[in-house]
């Protein structure tokens, strides 16, 4: 399905171009103990911490990219540099033709950021006041402000919520208002940092539908940082994996599963507490518990159908439940890193 995008004058094809980006922090070396703390007042030792090393990345207009990696991998540092809040130690970054930290004030008008854990709304006032403030801060013309606000109110259902003080809203309600606030000025590029954290299933679905809608209608480019694999699977065609400050994978999501994580996980539940062990080519029992076995199947060595057949036959009397799952993404990432 070809997505119809409105051609905007003067915008480069690559929304983001990063070359050889590096960022180092100086961390203070601290031993424990009282004497050490005291010594630290006068004499501090620094240890350099490399948060990002040699990052190269291109993002095209209209992409929805998932940025994943363990905590401390460098995702937030990368997003902050792309937002213009942090300077790099080395390398170049061009976003929408701007250098984020140098052109921050002009660039901010084209960028929207939504934090799952930090609120950008004014806490004691209703969200509508924060929207009105953004209208003047971002210089949004009244007609497009009204049109866009109405559209987002309808899509996210915040008509009554936005008149209540933000502090009285639940997390899901507040997140919906946060999104409106960050996207009112129709930015070309949006960063979502853990957008669905703490939300219930329905709220998550709504959020994902909204992102897809914005992407299709306005060609908005999204970079989503998340630990939620459903977010990734439902939204992102391309995934960038960061670990220890380096990009260790950059490519289509489906390739991760098919090329690299060619496994299935079988969660078997039994009526008996102890069952005889299961041996078959390509199968490895990874967990043993009363009434349960978890078996990992390497699809390159055997086929799912044959394994299921054998399992059913062998445990025909005791097998009560069988779950077939893909291995958790953390495991896949760990695998990718080891390669």
């Amino acid at each position: 399905m070809e997505i119809m995008k409105k051609r905007r004058k003067g915008l480069p094809e690559n929304v983001i171009e990063i070359r050889n980006l590096g960022r180092e922090f100086r961390n203070y070396k601290r031993e424990g103990g009282f004497i050490e703390s005291f010594k630290n007042i006068f004499n501090r030792e620094y240890r350099p911490f490399i948060a990002l090393r040699d990052i190269n990345l291109d993002v095209k207009k209209g992409e929805i990219i998932g940025l994943i990696g363990p905590n401390g991998a460098g995702k937030s540092t990368l997003i902050k540099i792309l937002s213009g809040v942090l300077y790099p130690s080395s390398g170049t970054v061009k976003v929408l033709g701007f250098t984020p930290w140098k052109d921050r004030i002009r660039y901010a008008k084209h960028l929207g950021v939504v934090f799952g854990q930090k609120s950008q709304l004014w806490y004691d006032l209703p969200a509508i006041d924060s929207f009105i403030l953004n209208k003047s801060l971002y210089d949004i013309p009244t007609s497009s402000y009204n049109k866009r606000l109405k559209m987002m109110i309808d899509l996210l259902g915040i008509k009554d919520l936005m008149k209540k003080p933000v502090r009285s809203l639940s997390l899901g309600e507040r997140m919906r208002c946060e999104i409106v606030q960050s996207l009112l000025h129709n930015p070309e590029l949006v960063f979502f940092d853990e957008p669905t954290i703490g939300l219930d299933i329905i709220a998550k679905e709504r959020m994902r539908d909204f992102i897809k809608e914005m992407n299709e209608k306005y060609g908005t480019t999204f970079i989503i940082t998340t630990h939620d694999m459903d977010d990734i699977e439902k939204l992102c065609k391309r995934v960038v994996i960061i670990n220890y400050g380096k990009i260790i994978y950059d490519g289509p999501l489906k390739d991760i599963r098919t090329k690299i994580a060619n496994r299935k996980v079988l969660d078997c539940k039994f009526s008996e507490e102890n069952v005889p062990p299961f041996f078959m080519k390509g199968c490895r029992t990874i967990s043993i518990r009363p009434h349960q076995r978890i078996i990992e199947l390497d699809l390159s060595k055997n086929n799912l159908r044959k394994v299921l057949d054998r399992l059913m036959k062998k445990y025909s009397n005791s097998l009560e439940d069988l779950g077939i799952m893909d291995p958790p993404i953390e495991e896949i990432i760990a695998q990718i890193y080891k390669k």
Partner: protein, 265 residues
Amino acid sequence: MNRFRQATGLINMNIKQAITWRFNFLTSLFLYPITLVMYYFLWKSIFAYSGTDIIKGYTFPGMIGYYVIQMVVGMLVWVEVDSHMSNQIRKGKMTQKLLRPLAYLPHNLIGAIGIKSIEVVFYAIPVIILGIFFFKIQVGISAIYFIPIMLFAYILNFMIAFITGMLAFWMTKISGIISIRRTIVGFLAGAFIPLSFFPQSFQTMSSYLPFQYIQYVPINVFLGKYGALAVGKLLLIQAAWILVLYGIYKIVWKIGINRYTGVSQ
């Protein structure tokens, strides 16, 4: 980018915010008259004890007049930007302010002016009216000069507090430094005792520093101690100090912001 619209938007927002804190706002209303009463009795006994009508050029009513105006000026010039900044840097909340299409300092300054305008209407004007009718202070036409002098004095105090606030880029907790700032600047600004009570050498030193232009000078402008030409000169000196502090801010900000990592420290 329409700067004027940004500014009015911010001011409106801050006014709305200030109004929601109604309780806080009403209780402070009582704080000022109590302090005033205390100074009233203090100076009444000082004058009675010394047995003269005039001390260092002030009569007793004149002295009380000084304190009423000092209270108003002190409240108008009060800034909290250094503690806000320290809080935001420590908690990593500065990030969201930096995502807005305006520079951090103007963002804070305009917001603070928004809240200040509420205080002008609800505190300053009632206290001045009270002072005129109850304490019988003399207010001349020179009170008009008060407005630009007060505005510059506020900006000057703001700049000093902002520069203090930037120390939070390097130190984890600057509440001690903020207290020092408030006390020393207040002291040198004439907040506790009129500067004319201090030895001449002290007053000379003070004239080379920006602090007296924050409170002492505005108080005396209000009390009509300067003519038009002198006021013009004072405005120029205030403006010069603001420019100097602006230069310091620009240099320190560049270094400081690079240290800001946006996580709670």
